[in-house]
Amino acid sequence: MTLRRRLSDALYLRPVFLLLLLLIPPLLWLGIVYLGSLFNLMLYSFYSLNDFTGQVEYRLSLTAFQQLFSSPANVDIVLRTTLMALVVTLACAAIGFPIAYYITFYTRGSTRTFWYLMVLLPLWSSYLVKVYAWRLILAGEGVVSWFFNQLGLGGMLQGILSAPVIGGSSLSNSYLGMFLVFTYIWLPYMILPIIAALERVPRSLIQASADLGARPAQTFRKVIWPLVVPGVAAGSIFTFSLTLGDYIIPQVVGQPGFFIGQMVYVQQGTAGNLPLAAAFSVVPVVIIAVYLLVVRRLGAFNAL
């Protein structure tokens, strides 16, 4: 028997080996390149920077974390980013749910396909193009401003912009603007899991609920919503973690205050403080780990 034949027989008789053969290359990549580099980064957070020499000291210590949490400015950064992530998640859920509901229950056939496309279309264009486009739209000389002025509501826009914290010199330079862009960009990631969850609710359940005397609002509260919560939770994983780590939108459409992502970028770049940058990277990992634990209880993992 030829070698090839022997090999193919052996693989047929022991499917496990075939499986291993198929899995080992991607697992190697996952293990070494991806997980390995992540681990390396986290390891750096336990090193420290020698202020005198500007070199990284390869000794385990907690100085990087101390540096992070002792400075109120740094703590501000973490809080600011987390708050934005939460607010964006809530907004995406609030806007995405009605859209998903409408698509699932009130469209069919080609109309439905059309709406799917409309939800997915933004994902086909470049992230940077979208962000810069929004910057132009929100700018003081941009469309939104012009629109408000046309309606004679220029004063109202100024009023909103002069609000503390969320306001700024213009929409494209404020947390409000940032919030709008974040919500826009991540909306499809919220809508799609919700549609999937809603589609999985058998229509007969909704009919049974009505048959047993429940009015539409009751049917929603008691039957539809409990079955859809996992989908909303799954969508929220995307919006939360994506916002938490983003460093481009705060830069392009933002206030001077840094977000975690920007801090990491700056620290590992110009400041050359790799340990601090690494420490800043560990923070969102921990936050998201906690978030995932919470969201797992809601069944999000079953709805992904």
């Binding site: 007969s204 009919q207 049974a208 609920s209 009505a210 047993l212």
Partner: protein, 331 residues
């Protein structure tokens, strides 16, 4: 006698498809009424119209004397047992059964007391804490039944509830359902494609075909005196003969296989046909004979006895004159 359900010239069209086509029927209070027919005959759509899950294109639905055509399901005194049971997967059995009471604001103690009563009635006592996913098909079916009955509706709709059960369980449930209906006195409207089921359980049966009712009668009348060829073939099996073949006036006649006796050889006489034996099927207590008569192929069924027949023999088919039923066209 006032009626429980009255359908007046009821139609339901889906685009160009006439699922229900000008149906008139009346269901009496306290009766076990079945709607029988093949898939796509309109029986399920009719049921859903009564339940309020479809809107009629034209015609009226009267429930206990009142026009319910535009009422949503939650406003009708009707409950339904769905084909897939439609149990709420995120609630346990107790909460499933109590649902109708919960949405009406019945206090919890009272709710759970009535749930226990219902579970006793459908022989599921003690399973209140289980989830639907942990139950067998037969158990789920009973939960669906309990859930639909707890609010004591005046009308219960059942959409092929026994379809997913195996034969033994199905037969058991048929007996139980019939007993339950008698005990509770509720009007049951039962949809099925199984004519044996419809005949054994119902007080009256409506046979549907292409959105219309071809015959509405009690089981005995339906079987003994089918009105159309479709009914003759669908309820039981039948040989349909042209009048001309028998020297009778124009028209079709139905002859049930069990009414035909097979006699060896060619024998003259009234109510007979001569033919050639095509096939013999031994079924145990009965034997089925297939006979070629002219261009027709007839079936006769009789008790298994030694007739000394073999395939290819000449045989005579004979029947009692009253066994031949005249058929009408569809009205």
């Amino acid at each position: 006698m006032s009626s429980a359900v009255r359908l007046i010239q009821l139609s339901c069209h889906f685009g160009s498809v006439r699922a229900v086509d000008r149906v008139d029927l009346e269901i009496y209070p306290g009766e076990f009424f079945s709607m029988l027919g093949p898939s796509g005959s309109g029986k399920t759509t009719c049921l859903r119209l009564i339940g309020g899950f479809e809107q009629p294109t034209s015609g009226q639905i009267l429930l206990f004397g009142e026009d319910a055509s535009r009422l949503p399901p939650y406003a009708r005194d009707v409950n339904t047992v769905f084909q897939d049971y439609a149990l709420f997967p995120h609630m346990n059995v107790r909460d499933n059964v109590a649902y109708a009471l919960m949405v009406r604001g019945v206090p919890r103690v009272e709710r759970y007391r009535r749930v226990e009563e219902m579970l006793e009635l459908v022989k599921l006592a003690g399973l209140g804490d289980r989830r639907p996913g942990q139950l067998s098909g037969g158990q789920r079916q009973r939960v669906a039944l309990a859930r639909a009955l707890i609010n004591r509706p005046r009308l219960l709709l059942l959409d092929e509830p026994l379809g997913a059960l195996d034969l033994k369980l199905r037969e058991e449930m048929q007996i139980e359902l019939k007993a339950l209906q008698r005990q509770l006195g509720i009007t049951f409207v039962y949809v099925t494609h199984d004519q044996g089921e419809a005949l054994s359980m119902s007080d009256r049966v409506a046979v549907f075909n292409h959105g219309r009712i071809e015959q509405l009668d009690n089981p005995k009348q339906l079987y003994e005196h089918p009105r159309t060829e479709f009914v003759a073939r669908f309820v039981g099996s039948a040989n349909v003969l042209e009048g001309g073949l028998l020297g009778l006036p124009e028209g079709k006649f139905a002859l049930r296989p069990e009414r035909i006796r097979v006699l060896p050889g060619l024998q003259n006489g009234a109510n007979s046909l001569l033919g050639t034996l095509l096939d013999i099927h031994y079924l145990g207590s009965q034997t089925r004979y297939e006979v070629q008569v002219g261009a027709e192929r007839l079936t006769a069924v009789g008790p298994s006895e030694e007739l000394g027949l073999k395939v290819g023999d000449a045989v005579t088919l004979r029947w009692e004159s009253h066994a031949l039923r005249p058929l009408q066209g569809v009205s």
